[in-house]
């Protein structure tokens, strides 16, 4: 498992423990986060994104903004599944480290 995968999955687990209103949120790559069949509402998604950003900064020492215009313009929704979110976060971390 990549470093970023561990960070995101741990953040999802912690988020689920803190937000019992989202019982369907399991830390599995195929879990649909948002949209049709998603386990989160819009506010839940915002909170999860903030939690993941915080975890990335705390664990990897990299400051990233996951929910910016680039994410919204992306061809494939980076918030659709945990796999998509992890992949998008990995790209942002890579870009930030390379900057």
């Amino acid at each position: 498992m990549r470093e970023i995968d561990r960070v995101v999955y741990d953040a999802v687990e912690q988020f689920k423990n803190d937000h019992l209103e989202y019982p369907g949120l399991d830390a599995r790559e195929d879990v649909v986060l948002f949209g049709e069949g998603g386990v989160l509402d819009s506010l839940g998604l915002v909170n999860l994104i903030v939690a993941v950003e915080e975890a990335i900064e705390a664990d990897l020492g990299v400051v990233v903004t996951i929910a910016d215009e680039h994410a919204l313009e992306a061809t494939e929704n980076p918030f659709r599944t945990i796999e998509a979110l992890t992949g998008y976060a990995a790209r942002l971390v890579s870009e930030a480290r390379g900057a």
């Binding site: 803190d18 506010l43 915002v46 909170n47 903030v50 939690a51 950003e53 915080e54 400051v63």
Partner: protein, 235 residues
């Protein structure tokens, strides 16, 4: 509130209202962070001062990074930083609109957004935005300034709905001319006097009255006090 002193960030603390608030809340037991576009004039100030221009998104991100690094959390955020503009619309250059919007609305937006994200992590927090009596009074000569404050008030009402589920409240306090606030000097004494004459209080508010309103918001046990605008002076 946590065992450690509660953490407060006040924007615009180099002078005026911000500086008065920073002094009060530091004395009251808060760990107070402040910011301004330049360093403090004196070597010591009431707050842990961070040089940052709220109208610059990168500055705001760096400021919250500093607060996070030093204190690890944020309990109260007071968005006070702002610039004034007093001129009739027909005489107002476009550059004034951009400058005042950038600080008063965009700056407040950046600060609220990044502060809210810090508070969401702990599922609690209080955000207070400073507005102005010029919004309800529609004082001639404040089309730009008043519009930016009206925008802040609308943002407060919207964000209250978005932040509530995370245990964060957001409110605004609208000020008439505040003693020691500096607004009278910048907008012109005559215009301020005309404004005051329309208010039930007929006079300037005091810093103690502002602190009373802020304490009322901060001390609320829950978030039922949210999305509100409290206008001092009866505006």
């Amino acid at each position: 509130m946590p065992d450690a002193p509660p953490v407060m960030l006040i924007t615009g603390t180099r002078r005026g209202i911000g500086r008065l608030l920073a002094g009060h809340y530091a004395t009251a037991g808060y760990r107070v962070f402040g910011c301004g576009r330049s360093a403090l004039d004196e070597s010591t100030g009431p707050a842990e001062h961070i040089v940052a221009d709220v109208g610059q998104e990168a500055d705001v991100a760096r400021m919250f990074g500093e607060v996070k690094k030093r204190a690890g959390r944020l309990d109260v955020l007071i968005c006070n930083a702002g610039v004034t503009s007093g001129n009739y619309l027909a005489l107002t250059p476009g550059e004034t609109i951009r400058r005042v919007l950038q600080t008063n609305f965009a700056g407040t937006f950046y600060v609220v957004r990044d502060g809210l994200k810090m508070m969401m992590r702990h599922r609690s927090g209080r955000i207070i935005c400073i507005s102005s009596a010029h919004v309800p009074l529609a004082t001639p000569g404040t089309a730009v300034y008043g519009a930016t404050k009206a925008a802040v008030e609308q943002m407060v009402r919207v964000v209250a709905r978005e932040a509530g589920p995370s245990g964060v409240s957001i409110n605004a306090v609208g000020l008439p001319a505040l003693d020691g606030g500096g607004m009278a000097e910048e907008l012109g004494e005559k215009r301020i006097e005309a404004t005051m004459g329309q208010l039930p209080s007929k006079g300037h508010a005091t810093i103690q009255e502002l602190i009373h309103a802020i304490d009322f918001i901060i001390s609320a046990p829950g978030i039922s006090i949210t999305g509100q605008v409290i206008h001092l002076g009866g505006a």
